[in-house]
Amino acid sequence: MIAGTNTIYIDGQEIPFTPGQTVMDAALAASVYIPHLCHYPGLPPSGNCRLCMVETGGRNVAACIAQAAAGQEIRNNTPELNAARMAITQMLFVEGNHICPSCEKTGNCKLQAMAYHLGMLDQHFSQFYQHRDIDASHPDIALDRSRCILCDLCVRASRDIDRKNVFAIAGRGIDAHLIVNSASGKLADTPIAATDLAATICPVGAILIKEQGYRVPIGQRIYDRRTICETGLQEHIAQQRRDQ
């Protein structure tokens, strides 16, 4: 392989890639942060959150699903793209019920951390005031769908890593919602366990391990100490599993 042929440029920075690698994976490997919520290295990408939209060749593409191509010039950290990312984050906030002060995930929530990263001061759009079902049936795991951002991470984690196929997304448009793969539709009737990846991968407070809330004092939580651009560079399923 000739040096330099397998290279992309993100905001002018030369980044090597291996053929078949996505723009996101190449960027993360080179410690270049591209904002993302629905992507978790080690799981197949989905491309649904659209935070990782980057510009290349006059088009916007999702970095997590776009294949890197030799010589590709990519714009990532630009005011326009970050403004769009902020709007998308605000959309996620108003679509669900994200009341940080009353959510156990606060301080450890990626949606919140993304909003911090983007400098979000308000939600800009009008609230949707969604009513989505809560499932508290499982002894160890709670599911509050009103906080779900439909990132599909639990679906993929359960299907591809846990091999239990506990979750799916059903419904169209704004009615899309997380469903549970059991006749009752309840988590208690699935084989999910609190140690499963699907139970712990939720970036927001939609899937929570019970009796863990507020254990870490304010000031010591994940995003009290680090920014999402720092944590986002170090995540991988293999690491996540070791930490469990």
Binding site: C100, T106, L121, D122, Y129, S146
Partner: protein, 185 residues
């Protein structure tokens, strides 16, 4: 607000708490000795701290709390009408906050739970005294009722965050919340 004014007279600030817990006001007071410096530049108009009941013309209005009833709407509109710059302060003003947790239920369910079914209730009945402000169907962010110029997130925003907001405003500049200080809880 012009820079000329700044040296001629004190900046007038009004504050209120709508559907909030006064925690933002408490945090404001956490400025402690820095309040003394601040009061050299500002004068408080309508505020729980002054007990002035209605707003006069003001430079800055600070709104704590979301909008949960008809009275909140009227107070908020009074502030908007009298304050050149209106700031939504804290999680409740910005997205409804903890009071907005009642949005999971409708008004009927809320009132019945509180006045008919709750524990320790004697003579259960839903009050309908005209003196009591009528509840809105939901708790709303203030920005859905009036135009808001700036937002100061936090539950509550820290005293430092208040200062970081007010100092540029007093100087006639646009406040910028530093990302490291940004938090929603």
């Amino acid at each position: 607000m012009t820079t000329d004014h700044q040296f001629k007279r004190k900046i007038k600030i009004a504050t209120t708490s709508l559907a909030g817990c006064f925690g933002c006001h408490m945090s404001f007071l956490d400025m402690d000795e820095r309040l003394a410096d601040l009061l050299k530049q500002v004068e408080l108009d309508r505020s729980p701290l002054t007990d002035i009941k209605h707003c006069g013309p003001c430079d800055i209005g600070l709104i704590e709390g979301g909008v949960c009833n008809a009275e909140n709407v009227q107070v908020l509109r009074e502030f908007r009408a009298h304050c050149a710059t209106l700031v939504a302060v804290g999680a409740c003003a910005i997205n409804g906050g903890v009071p907005a947790m009642r949005n999971y239920f409708n008004v009927q369910e809320c009132l019945e739970e509180v006045y008919l079914r709750g524990s320790g209730i004697t003579n259960p009945q839903i009050p309908n005294d005209p003196e009591l402000p009528l509840l809105l169907d939901k708790v709303y962010p203030v920005s859905e009722v009036v135009h808001i110029d700036y937002f100061l997130p936090g539950c509550p925003p820290s005293a430092d965050a208040f200062l970081q907001l007010l100092q540029p405003l007093l100087a006639g500049q646009k406040p910028v919340v530093s990302p490291s200080r940004l938090h929603y809880d």
